[in-house]
Amino acid sequence: MDEKRRILIKGMLTGGTLLAFGIPTITQAASINPARSDSARNCHLLLGNTPISEAFATGAQAACAHYGHSGQGALATSQLGDELLINPQHIADLLTQSHNMRWVAVMDYAHAAIFTELVRNADGRLLALGSHASASNADAALSLRHRWTTAAPAYGAGGLLASILIQNSRSFSIVENFLKVSFPETGLAEGLLPQFSSHSLTDQPATHLHCAGLPAPEASQLVGWETSANWVSLTSRPATSFIEHLPLGNWVEATGYAVVGAALEMGIHPEACAQRAFVHRPDNRHRDHDVLAGKQFVSFVIDV
């Protein structure tokens, strides 16, 4: 890992917070990451016509304010209507005419199916593709589910999102599959989240599982992984940095924050692994009425 980035992320978290969705940030990380690519410096937001877009944008802009380079200001934003279903050419042109740009996009599943195709047509590079859902049923095993396919651990948003969501009393799972596999050289991991107990598979050390409030076999089952697997503990270096907090309103904002944090290449809480999951089940389940119950969407981070 890049040494400068290592300094930025090292020991990002200490304990929990009383603030719902408090955002852990590192003072150093708010400055420009010198390793950041040109496209990350030219990051734009594309908002689909979904009920969650506004909340996602709120979180995304908060992340930009924290992590964006000096003078970047707010993320430039484009609004997407229903044109992808009616005339996708407009978006195809937008992609093919973009140069050296990073798009963070959010949309529903119908639009996402088409958008993925347009990205490939435009020779786009897909850094991360996330599916995000809140259970509509109060009795669901987990109330929030996030699943990412990510090009490499450096673009992983799961660690940052887990660190935000665990401060709330809702259960969640976050699964990340990294296409470019990294294998841990030792059993020691960088700055693991202290609220989670961390494990790896004995026969597949590049599979990491971080659990809070439930044992590893049960967490493994909840994310659809093999249940009979043998998990061994991962040890980590202690986290030392202090935390600032920025309240975010809900899990969609938190997701927007994490996706943009990763898109800006802050490299927060990366791990050398092929896949990892965070699973949290609090003792006292959150049963409040949630206006975002049943909401689901897809997020993209692409370079064109």
Binding site: Q89, A110, A113, I114, T116, E117, L118, A133, T149
Partner: protein, 514 residues
Amino acid sequence: MASQYIALPKGVSEKNFDAAIRDFRKVLGETSVLTSAEQLAPYIKTMMPVPDSDHTPSAALLATTVEQIQKIVAICNQYKVPIWMISTGKNLGYGSAAPAERGQVVLDLKRMNRILEVDKDLAFALVEPGVTYQQLYDYIKEHKLGLWLSMPAPSAIAGPVGNTLDRGVGYTPYGEHFLFACGMEVVLANGEVLRTGMGSMPNSNTWQVFKWGYGPYLDGIFTQSNYGIVTKFGFWLMPEPPAFKPFVIQYQHEEDIVEIVETIRPLRISGVIPNAVVIAHALYEAPVKAKRSDYVSGPGSIPDEAVYRIMKDHKLGIWNVYAALYGTQEQIDVNWKIVTQAFGQSGKAKILTEQEAADDPAFAYRAKLMRGEMTLTEFSLYNWRGGGGSMWFAPVSQARGSETLKQMALTKQILAKYGLDYSGEFIVGMRDMHHIVDVLYDKTDPEQTKAAYQCFDELLTEFSARGYGTYRVNTAFMDKVAETYGPVQRKVHKTLKKALDPNGIIAPGKSGIR
């Protein structure tokens, strides 16, 4: 030590694959050989209930000429590297652009996108595999050729070559696409270039007008197969009719499918209704107008009571028959009388013309597809459940009412066992029906993903046990479907494969053929 590739072809060492990649780059140039995770990620996403890692490619090649493809197959033969061809790669719900097996190299033909010929008088086109329907549509409009296309639901972003080679369908009178294919150019695994039919004869000008040529007809073996790489494709286009009259007929009870099919069959066979009629269930049309979550939450399939509420709220029939008449106004007037009399007999049908259904978004997109215009509205289906899971279950039925009712009831029963909804339609050929069901599930939910896999497996098992064959399937279930057609057919397929591609480099696993 970690590999520099995100996957490797089965049985190929990294050292050999390195050498193959170097050779591919000599042929195509550095930028047309994709190996990074970021570049390959757009090829990986599938909607099937299996890990995407099962279908991760090792590389993608962006070829632009036949000569390049000849060199690519030579390299593949040398290093025993398998390739998986895509034209535009829009086989959504059937595997998308991802290869059948992990590690196969995607040969992406999207940059081979020349429209080689469109003949206004003989009404045919000759195109390369990367040509999209939108591109061809624009060309025809720009040159005022007065021809119509027939396209599947992914319309604008898909293309005629990939769709026809997978034996896809559209909704105009030319809706059974392979019936209207005429002449192919195919790069064989040994690098030779075959032109089928009349195309084999030097100086022939009848390649796109006479299908059969001389001797055994070969075009069929290059559809749903892995015997060659189609690089040029001819097909017939429909002359724009002077008049067009789309309509929808609604029925209120599921068992009315019997009456619908018995009424339509003679009209289709006699040509009164010339197009590929769609009989769509309410739940196939509902996503255009409604959200599932507004009617039901929690596990389980949607109850009939909720379906009836959706029908009432959104002016849908439980069956919605979309059809159209084409021709001169006089022809249409005569045929309209025949259609209304036939459907009016029982008093169950509610017939709506274009004027009467003008504000209905479901009718609007169906009417567009029936006149060969672009719309992707059908993809609203993916918002019904959400979660990105979709598999097309596509058994074939006789065009006989009792058979369609049996198929619908069996499908619905099996889906319900696994908590899934019946989002189905019948596309009416003259004597057959393509029964198309979108098995929608939430791929972010491990339990539902597992249920979807088991459900699909059971659908295939139960249907084949009753003699109902599947005409097309996603890449995760190709072997299973191939098995249902019996050992003799499989052996013949395999014999052909051995003869044409002894090293098995072209799309191993396609339609269960290796």
